[in-house]
């Protein structure tokens, strides 16, 4: 299941859907808005997307993960708009009979999402300035609020 939403992510209901007598291992990843990035303070984050394409790319990621690993559940939810400090911008659930597949799929999904899916974050710094975050090979990715 994939979803884009402007509401807070309900990880409890995502986990409830993953519980099953066929699963033996459930891995949930939450990416959350962090206050400090290299000592610089974030006030809040905003996320924008090319929604139609982002949905297609997320669906591709789910399909590719289900092909590579035997998953009983595979969920990717990304929140758009403002995501305040400490709240989740993204949730990934990967469930499988065995833990190795669930961990591998969860890590691969968040890595691939960050490479491919047309979603962008805008830093709103505590000093009042804003920056769209566009990681380039030269830029240090840790210079943005990257988890």
């Amino acid at each position: 299941m994939i979803q884009l939403t402007d509401q807070p992510i309900d990880s409890t209901s995502l986990l409830a859907q993953a519980h099953s007598p066929d699963a033996g291992a459930i891995v949930l990843f939450l990416g959350t808005t962090r206050r400090l990035t290299n000592g610089r303070e974030t006030r809040t984050l905003f996320y924008d997307a090319y929604e139609e394409m982002a949905r297609k790319e997320l669906a591709n990621l789910e399909a590719e993960a289900r092909e590579r690993w035997a998953l009983t559940e595979c969920t990717i939810v990304h929140r758009l708009g403002e995501v305040p400090l400490g709240e989740s911008s993204v949730a990934i659930v990967a469930a499988s009979a065995h833990r190795r597949a669930a961990f591998e799929a969860g890590q691969w999904l968040i890595d691939a999402l960050k490479e491919r899916v047309p979603i962008w974050k805008q830093e709103h710094w505590a000093d009042g300035t804003t920056d769209w975050v566009h990681p380039t090979p030269v830029a240090n990715q840790e210079a943005s609020n990257d988890n």
Binding site: A54, K114, V117, I119
Partner: protein, 81 residues
Amino acid sequence: MNVVVKLFAGARELVGKDEIAVEIGSGATIGELREHIFRQHAELRPLLPHVMFAIETTYCNEDTPIPENAVVACIPPVSGG
């Protein structure tokens, strides 16, 4: 032909618009589109070497020809997650 290119995030901010219209020869490629944008939109030059393009929500290469009336999008480096 006239190609409308959707802009997002930093690209939209640099141009100050959601999309730009580019007049380009019929059957032109994405690479040619990139060159046209480079010449016509100086404000996009810092970001342009790093952007990808998508046709009908699919990433494409520099040598992909642009179909008539295609939905083209300029995709700056992504930062979701």
